[in-house]
Amino acid sequence: MTSFFTYRLGMPFEWAWFVATIMDILLIALPLMLAVAMLIYADRKIWAAMALRRGPNVVGPFGLLQSFADGLKVFLQETIIPTAANKTLFLIAPIITFTVALIVWAVVPFAYQAPLANINVGLLYVLAASSLGVYGIILAGWSSNSKYPFYSAIRAAAQMVSYEVAIGFVLISVVMYAGSFNLGDIVENQKGYYGFVNGHWSNPLLFPMAVVFFISSLAETQRAPFDLTEAESELVAGYQTEYSSMSFALYWLGEYANVILMCALNATLFWGGYLPPFDWAPLYVVPGILWLFAKILFFFFVFSWVKATVPRYRYDQLMRLGWKVFLPLSLIFVFVISGWLMVTRVGLPA
């Protein structure tokens, strides 16, 4: 796009780069917001179907416009800031959550070599940005100056930090297979694998890691069964208790943007990202972005499915799963995979 602005419109390179980047960001962020609205609707429909209910069916055909009606309602509400709250931080916290949910999309490849920023530390960037996400929650809990949000913030921080450790090891095993931190290269390295979705399905060493990553991504996004931060029977609405109007809506959007992001990462790291399910030429006619969408939607369905069927974990069970099951398991797999790759790619030491 930069070249279009430079050569067709005769802009100086720097201005062309600037305008092109802004337009690329909008091209990602605006459809993402639309996707969030539609996926909230889908989430509620799936959840309702599993509970044999109808779900939203009043606003628009099949209730399709429900999320927009909710958005409008929230927008027209009054913003209430508790008098004892730390006002600046109270308002900054939802902005942090929302921004962090958006910035990671910069490195997600939508087609061959087509992310917004093709950086060679892409995966580390994802880890770095997702480790920032915890601040939106801690700050909300602290600045509300209210006890339930504070409990929730402490839970959330401990939960996200614990599961990031396991996620880190899982990502290392992916990186060892792909030999690169660049998400585009990681996808290209999955090309030609025979498997259900062109990924590591058939690889007995990486498939367990895919499962661990999926469960950890549920914990990382605080979705059921790990939604202890919003456990309404214990903590009212968790860290969002004191929020209203747009600041609440930002949490809402950020949460779902994070869920979609985690679905995209699952698809990209383990299930071939923008590659078609089989390495078969006619399937490449379909643009890669559609394959990526299909995989994201599949994982989103599984997220909703889990939410509708699995009861909430107790806090000690959550910590046990993170530290005593996933951490040792992923660490063992890092050892096994590195050993296997050394033997198969380099050969046994003489």
Binding site: F18, A128, S131, Y135
Partner: protein
């Protein structure tokens, strides 16, 4: 031009937020300014092409260390006014540290712009096209392997030491045995009886 704008933006924010870290009255605000400083320092490192170090800075310092700082500060309710009380008493020591650090910085600058050899070595630390993860990895796992492993060992010992020092065996608790819970079958725990009316059951 964009690089220059980005550099001055990051550098200015680092300096301002570092100053605010020291001067802000609320300890939580101080930690948050520190986080902002870390974050913008990472931005500066991206600008000089050290993207790996920048990401590590964000992951380790912002993502883990600063979260712990924030936790401790929020939980302990540190009163900065109390800490400031001994300002005059510690002023001399503080001044000594400041002088030492400034003189070190000046010496480093002198050394940096010293000779032609130093300048030549600085121009191409790694060949182009080699990502700096690979460049660091090549050195870390070949020439500096033993130092690297020793650093890892020191950290491991420190971690085990911390656990041993703080771990307390508490008696009288009844921890879960997950395997036993899973292995328990309905027939071990329940019994199907047909008591007669008014007869009750033997427990």
């Amino acid at each position: 031009m964009i690089q220059a704008i980005a550099f001055y933006l990051f550098a200015a924010i680092v300096i301002v937020s570092a100053a605010l870290t020291i001067t802000s009255r609320n300890p939580v605000h101080a930690v948050l300014w520190l986080i902002l400083a870390f974050f913008n320092a990472a931005g500066l490192m991206v600008l000089v092409g050290a993207e790996f170090i920048a990401m590590l800075l964000v992951i380790v310092y912002v993502g883990a260390v600063a979260v712990l700082f924030l936790f401790v500060v929020m939980m302990l309710n540190v009163d900065f006014a109390e800490l400031r009380a001994g300002f005059v008493r510690y002023a001399a020591i503080g001044l000594a540290f400041a002088v030492a650090l400034v003189s070190e910085a000046v010496m480093a600058l002198w050394g940096y712009s010293a000779g032609a050899i130093e300048l030549a070595r600085r121009t191409a630390p790694t060949p182009d096209k080699v990502p700096n993860i690979q460049a660091i990895g090549d050195l870390l796992y070949t020439r500096y392997l033993f130092v690297f492993e020793a650093a890892g060992l020191v950290l491991l010992v420190a971690m085990i030491g911390a656990i041993v020092l703080t771990h307390r065996e508490r008696g009288g608790t009844r921890p879960q045995n997950i395997a036993r819970q899973i292995a328990r079958r309905p027939q071990d725990a329940t019994r199907n009886t047909q008591p007669v009316v008014g007869g009750g059951i033997e427990l």
